[in-house]
């Protein structure tokens, strides 16, 4: 079974291998494992892990609740701060956030497994479909949310909780945003992203309208005219170009599209992959694409990054994961030209780079890597369309600390704003905090005039 033929082919592996390769990267802890892991938590005061969490989850408390046999109470502690705590438990780079801050590192170089404990508690609650929040009485206020990704969902949930009616406008056919389309398959198995969307939406008062894209199907002005408030959380729709000759050849693919295609494929054997794959980039997307190329049966996968290891956006954990899957990571190489043969990708010409006078410069030394398929993972860009006079900063939407934009009654959060890191958990925090800000505004507006007798 399978094939090692050159070119881009589906079905490189035996069916059972796909099953194994795309199973859960870190399976859920069982009850006993969770107790053992939870016992390691010191219940720190003003805990550094909690400070490190962008959503400020009360980690010592939720772990103590696990250790005392109260996983539902634990889940509520998590959801109080982060309604997408289930996905964050799977995709957060905990090794650079809560687990890096864990005081156990100081004594033992091994943190409490906070991410896996969070997954344990949230999984227990979600499997029971235990809902912790009820909608407040309806306020009669309506809020539009653009984008059903982590920021939009977190915002919508908090608004619905406060009794507002929410309509989410989503360009894609499914809700979830990058949780659905942008996460490596082995990080969120069993259609978890959709289960989570269902779990979040079951609070009620949230309508999701799919297939409607800002700038194409409606404008921001349409929304401000028809809603009491608007939250923009549409993420980054554009992809950076290589700027190398031959970029448009078949076989040169955006890594984000590859990741989305793989996630959506019911049978992973139907996803074609090159025998030799080169990934250009140094972030999480590059790693996710490279690792999954290997898991699909690519014989040789090389990541080319134009700077050094220390500059890579991918965390050391992710880099190690890639290495363990047989991905070769090469540094100080930039793409020059895609090499074609018979109208197909045959390789890529790369140039060595170096830092000279504080600037990244090609050394002039050229090499070539054989490749059937090339993935571009050199960053995504914000595409401004239908936003009218909305102010931008650094190419993304400008916001203040509460997520307010330059326009009245318009808030924004998630990857489309220039604030914080581009992480799921950061987006959740921004969506949630914008909802609180919107709620304050709407509540103030709803105050009855105070009559002085």
């Amino acid at each position: 079974m399978g094939t090692t033929q050159s070119g881009i082919h589906r079905g490189r592996l035996a069916p059972a291998e796909y099953e194994t390769n795309f199973s859960d990267l870190h399976p859920r802890l069982d009850d006993h494992e969770a107790l053992v892991a939870a016992d390691r938590c010191y219940f720190c005061y003003d805990a550094p892990c909690m400070t490190a969490c962008p959503t400020s989850i009360d980690i010592p408390l939720f772990i103590r609740q696990i250790s005392t046999g109260n996983p539902l109470g634990s889940a509520k502690t998590i959801f109080d701060q982060n309604i997408l705590g289930g996905m964050c438990a799977r995709v957060c780079p905990t090794e650079t956030l809560c687990e890096q801050a864990c005081v156990r590192n100081t004594a033992e170089q091994r943190p409490v497994e906070i991410g896996r404990l969070q997954r344990y508690a949230t999984d227990v609650a979600m499997e029971e479909n235990r809902q912790f929040y009820e909608r407040a009485p309806r306020t009669g206020k309506a809020v539009a949310v653009v984008g059903a990704g982590p920021a939009g969902l977190a915002c919508a949930h908090r608004l619905a909780m406060n009794g507002h009616d929410v309509v989410i406008f989503e360009a894609r056919e499914k809700a979830g945003g990058l949780n659905e389309y942008g996460i490596a398959t082995y990080k969120a198995v069993d259609d978890f992203a959709q289960s989570e969307v269902d779990y979040v939406l079951s609070i009620g008062g949230i309508e999701v309208k799919n297939g409607l894209k800002l700038g194409r199907d409606f404008t921001l002005a349409d929304l401000t005219a028809n809603f009491d408030a608007v939250f923009l959380g549409m993420g980054l729709a554009g992809v950076n170009a290589l700027g190398a000759e031959g970029e448009n050849l078949p076989g040169v693919v955006d890594a984000v599209d590859f990741i989305a295609e793989l996630r959506q494929a019911a049978d992973k054997a139907t996803v074609p992959i090159g025998r030799r794959v080169v990934v250009i980039g140094g972030g999480m997307t590059a790693i996710d694409a490279a690792v999954q190329a290997r898991l699909l049966g690519a014989e040789e996968v090389t990541i080319c990054y134009r700077r050094g290891k220390e500059h890579m956006n991918a965390s050391p954990f992710e880099q190690d994961l890639a290495a363990s899957k047989g991905v070769m990571i090469r540094h100080w190489l930039q793409p020059k030209r895609v090499i074609a043969r018979d109208g197909q990708v045959a390789g890529i010409e790369v140039e060595y780079t170096e830092m000279r006078d504080g600037r990244l410069t090609g050394t002039g030394e050229i090499g070539a890597l054989a490749a059937d398929q090339i993935f571009k993972a050199i960053g995504q860009t914000f595409e401004a369309a239908g936003l009218g006079a909305l102010a931008l900063a650094g190419g993304r939407i400008a916001v203040d600390a509460e997520g307010r934009t330059s326009l009245p009654n318009v808030w924004a959060g998630g990857d489309c704003v220039k604030a914080g890191e581009d992480l799921t958990v950061t987006s959740v925090a921004q969506g949630r905090d914008a909802a609180d800000s919107i709620n304050r505004m709407l509540a103030a507006a709803a105050q009855p005039a105070f009559a002085v007798a």
Partner: protein, 437 residues
């Protein structure tokens, strides 16, 4: 190598580690395994009088509490004395003693509080070649309701009477096992001594309900929907046992009375502490029931290594060494002043010392210094209570440092007085004032 040989009231054993009278010593099979593992002696599970033996419950007999990682900290049981026929036990005891002449074999006995009962059983035990007897005056459940065990141990007059009978009817050394379920442990110890006992052993188990099943609302262990109080043992009871051993060791009336120390001994260190507080040897049960007989290897080698490291040649070098340092609170030196000190290199910044001090004690540990998370003792507030040391998860990170005489105590603004002074002479003590007037 330190010499671990033990001579306890004339009973010799190659080391001071005996298995206490309990399930691990109920029959030859277990005791043989224990001796093969290296135990110095056993106290055979308590024998009852001739006739149909007692019966045990057929449901769960044990309940427990656990610490982190389900480490067993305390065990509770509702098992009774041996439920095997008296002669079966006696035959096996005789055979085991023949097989293992260098090990101590002591018979635990519990019969009704009547002279005839004791008079009847003692020759039978003596015939086995047992090295001595232990009087079970401690069992707090089941047997006590029948006028035995703790029902005797809680009445000093009964203890004295029964011990006297035993000394009268046997040549074997008599060890009187005491119950901790009593307000002043010195009273039964004095009574045992008055009756002529050769030694006391303590503690037996503590009356307890170990937990409640919150589904059935019944105590654990639950037998058919009901539970009963049982005997508590294991690491959790060690502090109670240590105190009771020390009370007897330093009581002028019982001073010098040999003590076999029992109660939560799990490691060599626990054993050494009992010896230091006056125990002539120790008895172990829960640790063996938790981990098996092999733990004695750790106990033997651990005690030996420590003794070698400290230059203690034999057990006599350590037995009772801590007794002179046990005193009443009123004699503690009030001029001794200590302050907590946090080793910043060892500190992992968990903040537990801070919050313990801040919420529940003396507000003497910082949380931030110059805006940075930093835990440091404020000596002008620290009363030296030691709570931070106890809650700190890192060993030796926080230590108590005594102030040198003549240095300034920043909390009181006074110089540390080099002289010893205690509460009995303190001006705030009304009794001391009376004496002065």
């Amino acid at each position: 190598m330190a010499d671990l040989r033990n001579d306890f009231v004339g009973i010799k054993s190659p080391n001071p580690f005996w298995l206490a009278s309990a399930p691990p010593t109920d029959k030859a099979y277990n005791v043989e395994r224990a001796f093969k593992a290296g135990w110095g002696g056993v106290v055979w599970k308590t024998l009852g009088e001739e006739g149909p033996p007692v019966v045990n419950v057929n449901g769960p007999r044990y309940g427990a509490i656990w610490g982190a990682d389900r480490r067993l900290l305390g065990l509770n049981n509702i098992e009774l004395i041996t439920d095997r026929d008296l002669y079966t036990n006696l035959t096996e005891m005789k055979q085991v003693k023949m097989n293992w002449p260098d090990r101590a074999l002591v018979a635990s006995i519990m019969v009704p509080c009547e002279e005839e009962s004791w008079k009847a059983i003692l020759p039978l035990v003596e015939e086995t070649g047992a090295d001595g007897i232990e009087l079970n005056f401690g069992c707090p459940h089941g047997m006590s309701e029948r006028g035995m065990g703790a029902a005797v141990g809680q009445v000093p007059e009964y203890i004295e009477m029964v011990v006297r009978w035993c000394k009268q009817y046997t040549r074997m050394p008599v060890i009187t096992k005491l119950t901790p379920n009593i307000t002043d442990i010195r009273k039964p110890a004095r009574a045992a001594k008055a009756g002529g006992t050769d030694a006391v052993s303590l503690i037996n188990t503590i009356n307890s309900i170990v937990s409640v099943d919150l589904d059935s609302f019944a105590p654990n262990p639950t037998v058919g929907g009901k539970g009963s109080h049982g005997g508590y043992c294991g690491p959790a009871v060690k502090p109670i046992a240590l105190n009771m051993v020390a009370e007897i060791a330093r009581d002028p009336e019982t001073y010098g009375l040999p003590i076999s120390g029992i109660g939560g001994i799990t490691t060599w260190r626990d054993a050494a502490e009992f010896l230091a507080l006056g125990a002539g040897n120790v008895q172990v049960c829960t640790a063996a029931m938790t981990y098996g007989f092999k733990i004695v290897e750790e106990m033997i080698t651990g005690l030996s290594s420590w003794m070698d490291a400290k230059g203690h040649r034999n057990l006599d070098d350590i037995i009772g060494r801590a007794v002179p340092n046990v005193t009443d609170w009123q004699y503690l030196n009030l001029n001794y002043i200590a302050k907590a000190h946090i080793d910043q290199d060892a500190c992992i910044k968990c903040g537990r010392c801070h919050i313990a001090c801040e919420d529940t004690s003396h507000q003497a540990i910082t949380q931030f210094v110059d805006g940075v998370r930093h835990f440091e003792v404020m000596e002008d507030e620290c009363v030296g209570c030691n709570l931070c040391v106890n809650v700190c998860p890192v060993e030796n990170c926080i230590t108590m440092v005594g102030l040198e005489p003549g240095t300034l105590d920043q909390r009181t603004g006074k110089l540390v007085d080099p002289n010893y002074a205690n509460w009995t002479t303190h001006p705030n003590n009304p009794m001391a004032r009376q004496a002065a007037e």
